[in-house]
């Protein structure tokens, strides 16, 4: 199980740089820098499964779960609609979600699709985003801080087991 940790100050700086670079960030970020732990994002065994652990004080998070894709040497936001929902309740989720100290959250599995990637819903235009390298990103409710997960790989669609839930 991979794990990635970063402190809030570094994240804030990264977020500022990220925004300045028009929603791109270099893949050479110091991902291995280990600082005071706050929010920890872990990939689970299956690509597209994520666990978020809050080791810091209670934090108010944006309800949106961001997926970034590595494009050459640059991480780019993939404009897909994922949420920090744990189950597919088909009710409107609040815009933000508070994660208490010590709490963990496992968002619903992302199957790699551009539309309805977490829950079975209707789609017309719908693309499988693999193959490629991806990472999850969680932001604070005010979007001023971002927390980056470790890299995971999606295979091409023909070899993907992700959709078999």
């Amino acid at each position: 199980m991979e794990q990635f940790q970063r402190n809030g100050a570094l994240i804030f700086l990264s977020a500022a740089l990220f925004l300045a670079a028009s929603c791109t960030s270099p893949a050479t970020h110091a991902d291995s820098v280990k600082q005071e732990e706050t929010l920890v994002l872990r990939n689970l065994a299956r690509s597209g499964d994520l666990e978020i652990e809050n080791r810091g004080p209670a934090i108010n998070l944006s309800g949106q779960l961001i997926v970034q894709q590595l494009d050459g040497t640059t991480w780019r936001d993939n404009a897909i609609d994922l949420l920090l929902l744990e189950t597919c309740t088909f009710t409107i989720e609040p815009g933000c979600k508070t994660l208490e100290h010590g709490a963990t959250l496992r968002p619903a599995h992302w199957n790699g699709m551009s539309c309805a990637g977490q829950c079975p819903q209707g789609c017309r235009a719908n693309i499988f985003l693999g193959p490629g390298q991806f990472r999850f990103v969680v932001a604070t409710c005010d979007k001023k801080q971002r927390f980056y997960g470790p890299v995971f790989t999606l295979p091409d669609h023909d070899h993907s087991e992700l959709k078999k839930k």
Binding site: A79, M113, A116, P120, Q121, C123, A125, H157, K165
Partner: protein, 277 residues
């Protein structure tokens, strides 16, 4: 000489790499999910130009319209007095328009192409330093899906009604098209394709029974595009088309809510006319 699109038949092509298929419906959580396998196209177009000219801002990609949407689900209670429900999601007012331009979520409708997200590699663009003839290759994929809740509470009887029958039909046309720097399109080749599901369900266990006449997926042979089919021409490249097919479908989901005009409830078991809103 100015940069132009080559209309020599040897200079452009559209290949069906994978035909779509539909999967049998399956229960996912509290939904019956109707899935398909991805259809996949590959194509290329060729730009001609002179020495010193550049193909900057020339784009090759795919444009897709959906021109048929059938979309309804009917429900029935365990006993006659538990009632029935019919949900019509394919007609107005729930569905605000018939044909629509189909663009991936997050790709601007104004850009017209199915997806201009560079990560999707659906559009190829000329660059400084390109030499002519310039061959631009692109890929296209789509995988339409839909779902119905397994159970809906009948507000007239207060009883749960269970999914009894559902029909979905999505018909598309996809073209390989070139856009010049002035924004004008040349549509080279196109292909019609569709996905269709028509199933009935019985309790307990949501056992699915297929209607084979209404279930399947087909894709035609690529054809040279003349005039755009009038059944979807008004939405094909129009800047006035601001809602994608995904957005239009999601808006139609409001038909689920009690009191919505496209939701019909009865106090006893009923058969519904599926051609009405």
């Amino acid at each position: 000489m100015a940069v132009t699109v080559s209309l020599n038949p040897a200079d452009f092509a559209l290949h069906v790499m994978r035909a779509p298929t539909v999967a049998a419906p399956a229960v996912r959580g509290n939904q019956m999910f109707f899935d398909s396998t991805p259809m996949r196209l590959e194509g290329f177009a060729t730009l001609q130009g002179g020495v010193g000219e550049a193909a900057l801002d020339w784009k090759v990609g795919f444009i897709q319209a959906q021109w048929v949407e059938t979309n309804w689900c009917s429900y029935r209670g365990a006993a006659n007095t538990d009632g029935s429900i019919f949900i019509q999601r394919g007609r107005p007012p729930a569905r605000t328009q018939g044909a629509c331009r189909d663009c991936v979520d997050g790709s601007p409708m104004a850009s017209v192409f199915y997806s201009t997200n560079p990560l999707h590699r659906e559009v190829a663009q000329g660059a400084a330093g390109d030499r002519f003839p310039l061959v631009l290759r692109v890929n296209h994929t789509d995988q339409p899906t839909d779902s119905c809740p397994l159970t809906i509470r009948n507000t007239l009887t207060g009883k749960d009604n269970f999914l009894q029958e559902a029909q979905f039909e999505f018909f598309f046309c996809t073209t390989l098209s070139v856009q010049d720097p002035a924004g004008q399109f040349t549509h080279l080749l196109g292909v019609y394709w569709n996905t269709r599901w028509h199933y009935s369900f019985s309790q307990p266990g949501n056992r699915a029974q297929v209607n084979p006449q209404g279930t399947g997926a087909t894709i035609g042979h690529p054809f040279r595009v003349g005039a755009i089919d009038p059944r979807f021409a008004p939405v094909f490249t129009s800047p006035g088309q601001v809602q994608s097919c995904n957005a239009i479908f999601r808006a139609a989901m409001a038909a689920f809510q009690p009191g919505a005009r496209n939701r019909h409830e009865t106090r006893t078991w009923s058969n519904f006319n599926v051609t009405v809103p």
